[in-house]
Symmetry: C2
Subunit: 211 residues, 2 copies
């Protein structure tokens, strides 16, 4: 069966399941949760799906399995992906949804000190115009918390971390290429977090003293 | 009031709340969920808490706010922290709980190719004896998924990522210091993920073309 408009084969839900390895109950769940758009109705209780559905279903499955994200967050990411008002460049911003951005920590000397520490770090790296970036606030909150836990000495890793983050971000932007391909940008930014965390754990295991 | 054995002040739940900024209902919730050990009973329906409770409560709050972790995962981390059979060095392993480790992807040419790609990467970096590491499996699964999504070209970032991960892991192991301090190791590994992700987003925002 061929969908003439798109020039690609249309399939029933059972075939969608075979082509993606996602079970029928899970496909139905994703449809209910709005992670997958409905198929084209053909007759009562039946619908046809096309190549775009196959691809989207693979993406959702990968985000569920490897993104470490809740269904609610994935639904929000997908909604932005399909929103014509979100530009490609905004996708980097959309991917912020996957990181906990907190309210400002309560004002006080600990927060003031944390703000100085974070802004000094950004200045040392020459990262500019990030005053309003939600991740600056997240870092300030984290530094405040570390101070409250008496772990100020852990801050000494931040410079190494930021050099590493810079190298990663350069590779990200190189491979994102045309930011108009929003799905691609989303995959790189979101799945990249998991790749980086997995590699960090492997590098730690390689470097840790063996027993 | 002084707890002679520990030589530190004991406080009631209301003071615990004041000292940590965590609300009473939230403290009760953490107690019910086993994230905070019960206080020492004094009279009916009352208990006293000590400095260890204050510290643990701050840690739980930080993990909830900035670790991006579910209560279930935090409960498991805390249980390992309090388990005398878990050695300090194992904490790096315990922190693996916070990363999605998946079952092996189904066998097939895509998985075989993914396995070769990951093992070649580990070999290029000289990271040894990691065949059984769960993060190797996670990476193989991720590479398989990227291949199914037609994103093989995204694999070109993996070398930059692994160099960056190495720099981060070296800083981690330096600052962990004595691995017998398990709480410290946990904080560095788990909160470090969030620090690194936040810095990656900032570096991307710095490097992305402005509109």
């Amino acid at each position: 069966m061929t969908d003439r408009k798109r020039g690609i084969a249309s399939v029933r839900m059972a075939d969608l399941s075979v082509q993606t390895g996602v079970s029928l109950p899970t496909i139905k769940y994703y449809l209910r949760e709005g992670l997958l758009s409905p198929g084209r109705p053909v007759g009562r209780n039946e619908a046809e799906y096309d190549a775009a559905h196959v691809r989207r279903l693979k993406l959702v499955r990968t985000l569920v399995e490897y993104g470490g994200l809740s269904i609610a967050v994935i639904r929000e990411l997908i909604a932005h992906l399909d929103d014509p008002d979100v530009s490609g460049g905004d996708l980097l911003g959309v991917a912020l949804l996957t990181v906990t951005a907190q309210d400002d920590p309560p004002p006080g000397p600990d927060r003031d000190a944390a703000e100085r520490i974070v802004d000094d770090l950004l200045r040392r790296r020459g990262w500019k115009d990030l005053d309003q970036h939600p991740m600056r606030r997240t870092l300030i909150g984290l530094v405040t918390s570390l101070t409250e836990l008496g772990r100020e000495d852990m801050l000494e890793v931040f410079d190494d971390y930021s050099v590493a983050a810079e190298r990663v971000a350069e590779a990200d932007l190189r491979v994102v290429g045309d930011p108009a391909d929003r799905e691609r940008a989303l995959e790189i930014v979101v799945l990249g977090d998991t790749v980086l965390t997995a590699l960090r754990r492997l590098a730690q295991a390689h470097g840790a003293p063996r027993k």
